[in-house]
Symmetry: C2
Subunit: 442 residues, 2 copies
């Protein structure tokens, strides 16, 4: 009899939270962006709960919104991912450490080296979240006037991946002999010079670091565009995505796994972990109240602007404390978007102000309920192949995280849906992923 399928869980983190109102939530740590002690307590809780990985988001620019909205946001200033995750590697033992690194605004030699180093430092717990950097403001911090165009970014990303993985294979796993007697430190026959000359990149190598503990750090990808899905299918081992609901998640799951198989891969070697905001309450109503409270902490000016974008119509003229008007004028904006807002307003009976808080805060997939109701939902997603697990977004910290690790995880463990002990020492072992062979050596 085969083992029952289990969920994989990673924690998607900006230090304070992804939700722009979270830093104002009672009991939160608004200075967590630059307070290592808080982050240490977060990751140690996640490790005690046996999470697969701690996943650090990233931005390469500050000015990605108008200053009046920006001044209310904690999300764009924080520790840099490699320095933070390296520090956290020294105070943890098992949990994976996923860092975001851009293929558009960095060099493959640097990226390969830092991930290899993090993998050695952590005993095989590193993962690379490949991003092409969507924020057009980033270009201006790296000598360019214009953002690099989308298809150009994806072409470079694919080549960048080949170069980085090739650099990781610079030394055979057994290249370093370190024979004090004969004085031979490594076997030169087990050193490969990559000598890559491609369309976007030219990198000789070899990398100045031994092959990573995991062979290659785990590859993570979040793309949902066509080239993004294709890149994920060809290269990713963990896919982080944002489906609206179970139906769209199942379609995306099948699409990406089919593409992976078409690219000659085993679909099981690619784990699909949709991002989900998780709010746990003593009752479903209690959880919903927490969410309304959280959404209400997004400043109305920022919130109403986000709602207007989602509606494709200026929402600032509506009565904030009344229901969404029935006669919203038709525009050229996405009809799906508007229909979603209208459905949400009706389903949850939200006022304009509450709707605005939702769109200004976090409007993606959310599980809001009791440990039991959320475990029920997650079990369905796993059984129906909407997900292999979740990229968990905490609503506010530390309380929202404590609810997840202290209440939801034990419920999942009771049902046999989540591990009670780590399977091994490396992130690949947690995820059930094979260690890649070295392409240049047996």
């Amino acid at each position: 009899m085969s083992q029952p399928k289990k969920l994989h869980l990673t924690a998607f983190m900006r230090p304070v939270s992804l939700h722009t109102g979270a830093w104002r939530y009672p009991g939160s740590y608004p200075d967590a962006n630059f307070n290592l002690a808080h982050l240490k307590s977060f990751i140690q809780k996640l490790e005690a709960a046996k999470f697969d990985a701690f996943f650090m988001a990233d931005h390469l620019a500050v000015l990605n919104m108008p200053l009046d909205a920006l001044k209310r946001s904690h999300t764009v200033t924080s520790f840099e991912p490699f320095t933070l995750l390296s520090a956290l590697s020294a105070v943890t033992e098992k949990i994976g450490l996923a860092a975001t690194a851009s293929t558009t605004y960095d060099e493959p030699y640097h990226v390969a080296r830092r991930f290899a180093s993090l993998d050695h430092l952590s005993g095989g717990r590193a993962a690379w979240n490949i991003v092409t950097t969507g924020n057009p403001e980033s270009a201006k911090n790296f000598g360019l006037e214009e953002h690099v165009e989308h298809s150009e970014r994806y072409k470079r990303a694919r080549e960048f991946y080949d170069v980085v993985t090739g650099l990781w294979d610079s030394f055979a796993d057994d290249a370093f002999i370190r024979d004090q007697e004969t004085g031979v430190y490594f076997d030169p026959a087990k050193l490969h010079v990559l000598d890559h000359k491609g369309e976007s990149l030219k990198v000789r190598g070899p990398l100045n670091i031994a092959r990573p503990v995991q062979g290659w750090p785990v590859i993570v990808q979040a793309g949902q565009s066509e080239p993004g899905k294709q890149l994920a299918a060809e290269t990713a081992e963990v896919v982080f995505c944002s489906p609206r609901d179970l139906e769209s998640a199942k379609a995306l799951y099948r699409d990406i796994k089919d593409r992976a198989v078409a690219a000659g891969r085993d679909g099981d070697q690619l784990k699909i972990l949709p991002a989900a905001l998780i709010i746990v309450g003593d009752s479903v109503e209690d959880a919903k109240r927490k969410r309304l409270k959280l959404d209400s902490l997004v400043h109305y000016d920022s919130a109403i602007a986000s709602l207007s974008v989602a509606l494709g119509s200026d929402a600032s003229k509506f009565d904030p404390d009344g229901p969404l008007p029935a006669d919203i004028p038709d525009t050229n904006a996405s009809k799906t978007g508007r229909a979603g807002v209208i459905k949400l307003a009706r389903d949850e009976g939200l006022t304009v102000r509450q709707l605005a808080g939702r769109y200004g805060g976090y409007a993606g997939l959310a599980f809001v309920g009791t440990p039991e109701s959320i475990a029920d939902e997650m079990a369905v997603w796993l059984a129906e192949e909407g997900a292999d697990g979740f990229t968990v977004v905490s609503p506010f910290l530390p309380e929202g995280l404590d609810d997840i690790t202290g209440k939801l995880v034990p419920e999942l463990q009771r049902r046999g849906l989540f591990r009670t002990e780590y399977e091994g020492s490396t992130l690949r072992e947690h995820l059930g992923l094979p260690r890649p062979k070295n392409r240049f050596f047996e």
Copy 2:
């Protein structure tokens, strides 16, 4: 009455040692390049001995020597500095953390960000060793066929420094209000957009991280060429240099301090710390024996090639176990170099093999003796303004380091030449350096 002058001590590290024979020394850890536990023990010993900083050297290429020599060297593969120092920041509390970062093969936005992040993570202990990357093999790992030319590298380095320090000043020290009541996270009036457009670099900013704890991480420079000395005089707060002896050290000390004053700086705000290999023995003879033993572990093929370069003449035809012949033919190579070799052979009575081991291992400034004799020498260097302290190079680890922290440092402390407690919490406080003002804000 003013305090008597004290030495500053930093430890210059490649994980195993700078000396190419060190990994073969009895009791050494040949795998320290990729073994965090060893490095943790090294830095904790240095912190217990109250060293100012742990200083990590760096390379951006492997193939900087012929493969037959390379295979015997532990020096070109190791952890990457930022990931390593960040991990070590989590297991230390006071000691400074100096990382090497290249101005030629990296982006100022990345460099500014990583140092700011390390400074926040460590509570104000970061230092940036500015290098322009001398190894011509590095270019090939970053898309270039040819190494960037020397004066071009230094021009870019100067501008790079301006951009990085400008980015560190993006936010006023009190920009982050984090007022949960009003919902204002930072004061937009205290955000500066750098908008740098120079000859070599174009960077908009602002940096996506709060101003570093130290204002700016401490600036370290190692240049000894004319443009290197000038860059150091204009920007450095710690100068790491390699004078042959006290006389040349005094001249260099005076030269760099005069240049700093001419550039409008206070000479005291620039600490000159020559690199010195330190070998401690129970007697001077015992220390010398350790050194001969260490030098003998450099493979003869590599060693004799280094001696030939120093002599400007093929030394492989000499009798390895005889003295240096008296009639070495004149060549176009440096007469100073040859004279130095001849003097060394005569002063220490070394055979050709022993001389070769010296040049293949570490031929720079060295203090070899008892704790008392080395403390005597250091006191003279300090009193005569040859140095404000030393960049200590350990001959082999852990034993050679234990001798320094356990025998030499206590002797220096007994004489009042070195601190017995840290003066404060930040590296600037250890070094007696002021916290730089923000150039854009009061």
